[in-house]
Amino acid sequence: MGEVLPGPVPAVERSRLAARRRRDRWVDLLLLLPGVGFLALFLVVPLAQVFLRSVGLALIGEAGHFTWDHYRQFWVEAQYRDGFFFSLWLGVASTVISLATALTFSALMQVRFPGRLVVSVLYKVPLVVPSLVAAFLILSLVAPGGILARLVAHWGWEWPRLVYDRWGWGIIFVLVWHNVPFMMVIISAVMAGIAQDINDAARNLGASPWEVFRFVTVPLSMPGVSAAALLVFIQVFGAFAVPSLMESAYPLALPVIMQTEMMDRANWALASALGSVLTIASAIVLFAYYRLVQGRESPAR
């Protein structure tokens, strides 16, 4: 029995189909409009404006001309370059320390122990404390002239410099304090999804608890680990409030320099160039992350 082929579509039917396709296209566009419009209005337009300002165009209150000078200035003048590397250092150090801490505690939180529920609530407390408040808390506690410094002064001891230091350890401490619970929420959720059978199998095959953590738990948690690390890094890399309060006189974090250039010196073009550099660097990290994730996912498929 041969298959019955559909006959030629009548002209009326064809035009009706074409009209429906056109209408569907408009409906698609209308449905996309809120999302795309939002992105265009609140992301693309501001970013484009920042970039145009950074190259000397679209400046407010003065005639502009195209120039790469502000990017050159960023690279040639040490304070801007050092500011970039200081922000990078804060991002990397905070992320690494937060990650190590969050991984350890997330793994521990998979173990059942008395009071686990209380601990699981308590560790989330820093999530509801704004980082600026955390910075004030730390400052009033450990800054020169803070509570602890005054306390040890009674015995004639000199309190060590834990904030306003060149390497930004005070800043890193606050950022780690704030970001560890954030990372733990993500990583714990991923770890909780790992089947207990896999861990049991590894133990049955003679792996020690450390080996199970190292060779089973961590690799299987990598999607959560990498996402948490990426989010924390990008957030810390562009952090303004905590560095502004707790950094030393030099180097200054790049967002702090941006603010000074913009608000104190009305140098919007340079501030925009510095902002563009921060954005591009974050985009590169994001791109590297997706490449990394893709690379890991491909063999598994």
Partner: protein
Amino acid sequence: MRRLCGLCAMLVIGLVVVLDPSAWAVNPVGGGGYNVQAHIDLRGLTRANFDAVVTPAAKAQSNVVFYDFADTLCELLAKEVDEWSRSTGIGVKHVCVDGDVATQQLIAEKQAGKPASADVFFLPNNNVRLMTGAGLVANLPLVDLLPNARDVDAAVARESRGYLHGGTALPFHRNQTSLAFNGQFVPTPPETLDALAGFAKGHSGKVAITTPGRGGSGSGFLESVLLALAPQCRKDLYTYGISNAQAADIAARCMPPVLAYFQKIKPNVTFTNGNEASVQAVANNTAYIATVWEDDLYTLASKGLVPPSVHPFLLKSGQVGDGDGMIILSTTSKLEASLLLANFLMGDKVQIDKLEQTGSRTARIDLKTRGQIPATMAPFLLPDAMYHERTETRINGVVSDAAVKIFVQQILR
């Protein structure tokens, strides 16, 4: 004979009128016509007839919007303006704004062809140039018109940080960079830069200097050291209208003795990351001497955050002071009410209240402030004699920025 006497009398009256500046009508700053819409004849307006001419027209206006950028003065000015509004019947909306954001907003409104959101703007002095360039400043020489501006210090009447505006920006607020010492640890504060270096050496880490990159008390101190140690550069430091490259040349030529001084004291001083950190350092005994803004110190002291043993002082070689101005927007449709408000703000009451409550100095040299400050607060202000003897005008901002860059590179880095 009678005719001759009459002629003489007319001549004398004429001479008096001509010689009394308050009787002169003023011309638009920069020549040409006035760039602001008025309901009175501006060409006939003088300091002498100001109240008589302006008040009737002003009383017919309302909803004047007053932008105020100074967070330390915001609360006080809101109260003063409210009282004035109730007594005159002229409605005023007092808005506390961020100075730079408001400047950008007003310029953007102008560029978009929209009426400006404000009529009067108390703005950062750095922005007077930008606002004038955007055509937003009414070209009225306010210092020559307002009765309450008759005794404004000539040194600050017509320029803002090197920008010659011709009197369109009223010097409403003056402030002074200074050093503060804690009398508990420093019985006699050092009077010279050498003595300061000696003190720092004897009390390592107890002198706090604000980084010039992030605080006016630091860049002010750098300018003061520059003026003291490079006197041959004084003329260049006060030369305005120069390019960034010229400013960089001047800074490079004048900074070596300054850098040598800071290299010498660097091991013994602490650089802080802002004005507040320096005030805090001297307030909590972390430092015995610190660079501060006089009004910052005063404001914190008025809230009980500074011990009574802390006092400001100026070095013998002088330290620079600054200030911020007030303009009337060229786009205002309530010029007369704005003029009346600006005159009120330059009046005795507001000028004394702001000194008493926030340490904000006045630019009016004849205003009697002695005895107006409570005895408990007076020690947090510089003694008048010291202030008048040792205050210096800030140098050209572009040169200052260039000097800060060199400082950051050579000293802080």
